[in-house]
Symmetry: D2
């Protein structure tokens, strides 16, 4: 088989900016329930990280009237890789232009996906340096284990909604050089969901068909925990904190992720998850294709997918002002 | 910081051949205690795999008078990557030459490390196709979960002993294009242990100074389990099966791996381990350097390293016939 | 508060006899999927045990035309306790009479609950002695850990359906001297579910209102696993073996048990579960009372209770030939 | 076999009072590292509890010049059981007399063991009522899960040192009506360690021979966690907090407890542990006897017992002022 990873230019998913109408409630949730640490504030934004995220931040919360995703960014493998990739994006006409960067990272190239999701690429970054009280005992981790709330370790992946899944899949493959590891193809041949990766993780970004045909909406962001037991304990902690648990813990059939979905205070879906020792090591991994019939079986152990999982996004459809294709 | 991963030519550690004077006992151990599956036999060799190893085999056991490591192999990222890398090896004078391949994979280029460890690179491989009775319920895993013994998931890494650690480190960096994630540097400046990776795993190969200064010996092979709980349960199972537990379960300070070391029937050290959600995603990861003083603290939670861990290798020093540098 | 445990005469739930129309399939399920061990056969019955059950058996499977529960038994705290308790039962008119015992235990006193469930009490028992190949490495466990299938540890509890929950609750309290730890009371004051214990476990028997008002039906038997992680792994193993997973893994709000329900081949519901370190140590524990409103919240983390959980019993209602009260 | 549990008068281990020269440091450790909650202060004492301890407190820390154990208490099964047991103690000449009780419990009868350990029995107690901000989401647990530090669930057991192990064993059996579940008997016939229980837990109190022959010293107190994974995570948290880890995590051969021992700030040994689903349900459980040869094998998976485990007690032997028998 042919290798399916066409480029090593993208190093990893770096951060996501979420827009929240309840900034301080959201910050409180991510710090005291999720166990994250604040690494800075600027303007209407608060920057946060998990205890083993190596960069300045992996989450940027920005005050807004409506929930949504401000942008998300990948770090590239090198300065040259950044230039190479920007050229591809520009040539294809998706580019917006360079920004001076943000707290914690250098110049970033902004662009939008085929579905209108704002993205950035950058290479120059600020490695997190823990202050004395947060220094870890073992120097090969970014920060001291917080032992507070859910204790999320690191940003894992994010999930988008898309009006046109196939176009977005081609964008991630051809423009960003990521590879498809799994996908859902309906009986009519339409792609309904795609999982893509730039690393040995089995996915860094996933996207599924928007139930309303809206463009560019956001589904969820996921932070990784070290074990399934920690995901279960997270459920206990969410329960104690009055956090809305949408579904889980359970195991996805697709990607076999052990998942738990909740809503943060402004209504944005957040996942904590564990993948065990599963990695995609094969250079010629061929996409696993799931049929409609297979999807009807529900999740791995039979849980039926909850309705809101197909409809609830950021912004909520009631507040969405763009074009709808359905 | 500069990116430290200079090449993406190597895709992943593919398999290791172990030499055993007790072939059938060793096979029985890997199948009934470790929970692996036999995928073929040829001549004096038996081929085995974990339930989520995607290739024909990740372990080849070959009958021998003395324990040792026959060879280990990396799969490359593409056919072109194989050619590129072979040229570097040949030009540097480490090459032995092409072989026709083996059960389960195509033509392989053989060479030796600076320390004399036999290695191979290849690209063409045979994806494992589970027979009906071993078909998994979820089509994104290689084989049905066996529910037998320790149930190792996949090959994770291997560990070598080396007469000259620095030379071997340079070999893995310059000739194979792997990057160093952690290392031990003695007070006199000598490198005593190095961990290198070709993937987002924090290491695929490790090597430490041979206590006797012998060249090319083997330390252990490691299979991955999905959780620390499974490593603990593995300890129960090894105990019940009369398997010699050398040390663990405990957590390494270096790499933070949750480890458990046992000897298979012929005396070769085997590890089962879990790394949680730890990955090296940063393209410019700088090697973590551990000092002598730090090493004296023992493992992460204070366990002192057992003496045999520094001395026992394959072949045992009593049977080693090569040059000693100490 | 007053102590709620009125008697120490019952030592623990000892075994349950299940009636199966598919005896060999059922035996195969309990041995190869659940990981139990056969300890004897007699007539149409096969006797089984978990790896840390100390008696001859905790499960007796008997061939039958229809699924059902043949009887279940408690072991008493002493020979005197047996006599004391038999007198209470006889005096109250529930007694059937003495039997000579069965494989693995001595004389048993048979009786029926208010709802018609056949029960027995006995004291004399045969401690399991593992044959050489099943001897454990640690002499404080009954048998070697099997490392096969789900590896259930020991019988934990069983769950009955009842036409009259309150009458059955009084029976367990007044006649058997067990205490109520939790219960469901409907808005109309009716008891809909009760959990009773004779030990420090938070329940040994539970019973809920039969949806059809049938008398004496059986809901499920539960075996204990050592961790929630093992319950999750059990789900993987059930999936691989084509076992019908009814619901779970998830955490009950009531009793906080981490549960997983499946059907064995003849259709009898079987649970594997873990309770963590939860015990009822308080001698004056007062029953936790759950309201209809609280029950509507679903399980601990929000899972809605599946419909079949309220209706499916043994025998199935289609095969039930007794009186119905609804 | 005969039933070995001669009395049901004792309900469970209720609390322990530890004497600490560093009261505030100790309080900080138990609250912020162990995750306990303060439930009161009086004089030089601070009262604490785990999140599922149902009484006012299970730990009382009292300022003192030297570390030690102030007293420990069992709650009885009823008011009558208390009177019965006090009579036995008084008749045997071990009694000290009644106290008015303490914060959280009613009148207590004080006495000393054969080895001089101060003990109390009481029945009347104050059930913990969580304030609004600590109310649990599930009403069948005592308090909200704290999600802070190690999150110990409940008091599990304590361990004493004794100059005369056999005398103390007889005291627990004959005077307190507890039963022996396991013990160590040396080749010379001397008992070197005994584990006794009043419940279905496999032990509530353990005691081993004092290395120095000192009388009445204290070895450690243990709090229960819900899983082995939580014990491992506790090790990470102790490490991050600079807490001295003496030994573990590992599994004891005796009782199979998964243990982790640390020293709180004043030097008193504290354990966090998990027993899985192991319980002693058999009414006629016969003590497991471990020989010297068996003990030399070390812990379950081969860990050698650390020297300080045999010598370090409270008070430290340097500060001990009583008689030594060796």
């Amino acid at each position: 088989m042919e290798p399916t990873r066409r480029s090593f230019d993208l190093a990893h998913l770096a951060h996501v900016e979420l827009l929240t109408p309840k900034l301080e409630d959201s910050v409180n949730f991510f710090i005291n329930v999720m166990g994250m640490t604040e690494s800075g504030r600027r303007g209407d934004s608060v920057y946060l990280r998990g205890w083993d995220d190596y960069e300045h931040h992996t989450l940027k919360l920005t005050a807004s009237n409506v929930t949504g995703m401000g942008h998300f960014a990948f770090r590239t493998s090198s300065a040259e890789a950044l230039q190479r990739r920007v050229k591809v994006i520009e040539d294809a006409g998706f580019g917006t232009g360079w920004t001076d960067g943000d707290l914690g990272h250098g110049p970033a190239y902004a662009f939008t996906t085929t579905d209108g999701h704002p993205m950035e690429l950058y290479y120059e970054t600020e490695w997190y340096k823990a202050p004395a009280e947060l220094k870890p005992s073992l120097k090969n981790q970014a920060m001291r284990f917080p032992a507070r709330g859910v204790n999320v370790r690191r940003l894992d992946h994010l999930n988008l909604l898309a009006a046109d899944v196939s176009a977005l899949r081609q964008f991630f493959e051809d423009i960003l050089g990521m590879r498809v590891t799994e996908k859902i193809v309906l009986d009519n041949g339409q792609e309904a969901g795609v999982w893509v990766t730039a690393t040995n993780k089995s996915y860094d970004v996933a996207f599924t068909a928007d139930h309303y045909g809206a463009r560019g909406r956001f589904h969820h962001v996921t932070y990784a925990l070290d074990s399934r037991e920690e995901v279960l304990r997270a459920a206990d902690i969410f329960l104690e904190n009055g956090v809305h648990i949408e579904t889980g813990p359970h195991k996805h059939a697709i990607q076999q992720t052990f998942f738990l979905y909740v809503y943060e205070p402004s209504g944005i879906r957040v996942e904590v998850a564990n993948a065990g020792a599963r990695l995609i090591l094969a250079p010629d991994w061929q996409p696993i294709v799931w049929t409609e019939a297979e999807r009807k079986k529900g999740q791995a152990w039979g849980l039926k997918t909850i309705e809101s999982f197909h409809t609830h996004g950021s912004p909520p459809i009631e507040e969405y002002t763009g074009p709808k294709t359905k």
